[in-house]
Symmetry: C2
Subunit: 148 residues, 2 copies
Amino acid sequence: MMKDFECTQESYAREVLREKGLKSTTQRLAVVHILHISEKSLSIGEIHGGVKDMLGNTGLATIYRTLEMFEDLGIVKRLHFPDGGHGYAFSQGEHVHHMVCVDCRGVFDFSECPAENFDYASVEKQGFRVKDHFIQLFGQCGKCVEAA
Amino acid sequence: MMKDFECTQESYAREVLREKGLKSTTQRLAVVHILHISEKSLSIGEIHGGVKDMLGNTGLATIYRTLEMFEDLGIVKRLHFPDGGHGYAFSQGEHVHHMVCVDCRGVFDFSECPAENFDYASVEKQGFRVKDHFIQLFGQCGKCVEAA
DNA sequence: GTAACTGCAAAAAATTTGCACACTG
DNA sequence: CAGTGTGCAAATTTTTTGCAGTTAC
């Protein structure tokens, strides 16, 4: 039984999965759904909890396997927090970076990439060939600024 | 017995520790030394191994405690790899970002910050107050490009 | 149908903690 | 010497794995 949670994010995920010959299982779509309705990045445990609320028993291992796969597929992005923890956020493949609120772990996208106009020539002079970059802004979101 | 490994990095660490009223123990200085002489970022296990080679028995817990503290003090930086792992590199407090070779995990600094000229106005319009950022470039270093 | 997935429970890896002893300042 | 820091071993947490049974396509 494969539920359909209807929404852009979910059809996007279905699409990516189909293209790769992977199955759109209930569990996988539920993970997308949980991340999609969340304003903030979620830990593995939170995702697991959310999926269990939706589907009943679900193995934690499935969540791990799903997230790893989604990260490879560009469906989710893993975020790192200053305290060493990490979380996941839905990320529709496009080149998007994230601002993370260090108080509530809320996630906000920004599409202008600070590295876009960066002159890689200086670093490539050392022979280094840049292939990708990871950028994440930290700060406080509007709500948390007010609450402080 | 507190050994002295003489070098800029080590005296820098001593200095930071003294300022905070923390002790410059042999183990802490050894961690600095190991990271300093390494061309690449090191995992906790590698650092532990290196320190044990220098000093004999050393508890893994000490390494964890030291690295956490060093990260707070800005003496080391934790780096994240695409495969989900992470490592540590010496980082002398200044605003420096790192390029990481995905093959050998080598670390190269670059001081020009791509975010320097970034217009935060656009994101701050949403009420977000940017406090810090994490930037890391991925790619291949000269050696690994040749080896490929 | 059948290959890809899942749940479960167990195993392995990573990190933290408590406490008696040791070392720095 | 006083209090910070360490080693050790145990506890906890996090992540991975194997496999019999399901499910999407």
